[in-house]
C-alpha cells in the first residue's frame, strides 16, 4: 500500500470541521454579545481565567483553537486553488505554517495562565 502524508493533513482537517460546526457558532455568539456591550457573566476575567487555568479548560481551548485553525488553513488552501491560484505548494506552506504558529502561540499563552 502506498504511503502518503495526506492522512496527517486530513485527519485534523476533518476533526477541525466537526469542531467548527459544533463549537464555533456558539463561541461567536458569546463574543458577539460582548461586541454589543452585553458581556456574558462567563466572559469576566475571573471566570475565563479560572476556566483557562484548569487542565480540562486548557485542553478544550487548545483543542478548539488548534483544530479550527488547521481546518481553516486547509480549506483556505483549497479555496485559493478554486479561485485560480495555482501556486499550491506555496499557499499550503504559508497557511499550514500560519496554523501551526497560531496553535503554538495558543499553547504558550495557555501555559502562562
Amino acid at each position: 500500500m502506498a504511503k502518503s502524508h495526506k492522512p496527517v493533513v486530513w485527519f485534523p482537517f476533518a476533526a477541525g470541521g466537526t469542531v467548527i460546526a459544533f463549537c464555533i457558532p456558539v463561541i461567536v455568539v458569546l463574543t458577539f454579545l460582548a461586541a454589543l456591550g452585553h458581556v456574558p457573566a462567563g466572559l469576566s476575567y475571573e471566570k475565563m481565567h479560572a476556566f483557562a487555568a484548569s487542565g480540562l479548560g486548557k485542553l478544550i481551548i487548545f483543542g478548539v483553537v488548534s483544530l479550527s485553525l488547521w481546518s481553516s488553513a486547509h480549506r483556505l488552501r483549497c479555496t485559493c486553488y478554486d479561485f485560480g491560484l495555482r501556486a499550491d505548494t506555496l499557499a499550503a506552506t504559508i497557511l499550514y505554517v500560519a496554523a501551526i504558529t497560531g496553535s503554538l502561540a495558543a499553547a504558550v499563552f495557555l501555559l502562562r495562565i
Partner: protein, 130 residues
C-alpha cells in the same frame, strides 16, 4: 495516426459561475476565511487573557466597535452556514448500516443538529447568558 487529446477549457477563476451548485460550493468555501480570521481573534484573546485583568478588559472593550460588530455578523453567518452544510453532509460522509438496511440519512443529520443545539445551549448556560 495521431489523436488530439480532448482539452476542455475551464476558466480557472470564473468556473464556479457556470452552475448554481458550484456557487453553493464556493459560498461554503469562503466561510473558512471568516472562521480562520475569527480563530486568529481567539488566539489574540488568549494572549490578552494571559496578560492580566486590565488587558482582558481592554480586549472586551476593543470588541465594541462597529467594525467588530460587522465582522461578528459575517463570522456568525459563516459559522452557521458551515455547521448546517457540515451536518447535512454527515449522512453522505458516514452512512450507517444496521443489518440489511441503511439508517435514514435525515436521522443521521438530525441527530447531529440535536446534539449541536443541546451543546450550544449548555455552553450558553455555563457562560451565564441565561
Amino acid at each position: 495516426m495521431s489523436r488530439n487529446p480532448l482539452v476542455r477549457e475551464v476558466p480557472p477563476t470564473s468556473w464556479f459561475f457556470r452552475h448554481p451548485r458550484y456557487m453553493r460550493y464556493m459560498a461554503r468555501e469562503i466561510t473558512c476565511i471568516f472562521i480562520g480570521a475569527y480563530c486568529v481573534l481567539l488566539v489574540v484573546g488568549l494572549q490578552r487573557l494571559a496578560a492580566g485583568p486590565a488587558a482582558w478588559e481592554g480586549f472586551l472593550l476593543g470588541l465594541r466597535s462597529a467594525d467588530s460588530i460587522v465582522f461578528h455578523l459575517l463570522a456568525l453567518v459563516a459559522a452557521f452556514y458551515h455547521a448546517a452544510t457540515w451536518f447535512n453532509a454527515t449522512q453522505k460522509a458516514m452512512p450507517l448500516q444496521i443489518g440489511e438496511d441503511f439508517v435514514p440519512g435525515n436521522l443521521i443529520s438530525g441527530a447531529h443538529y440535536a446534539v449541536w443545539v443541546v451543546l450550544s445551549l449548555v455552553v450558553l448556560f455555563l457562560a451565564g447568558v441565561f
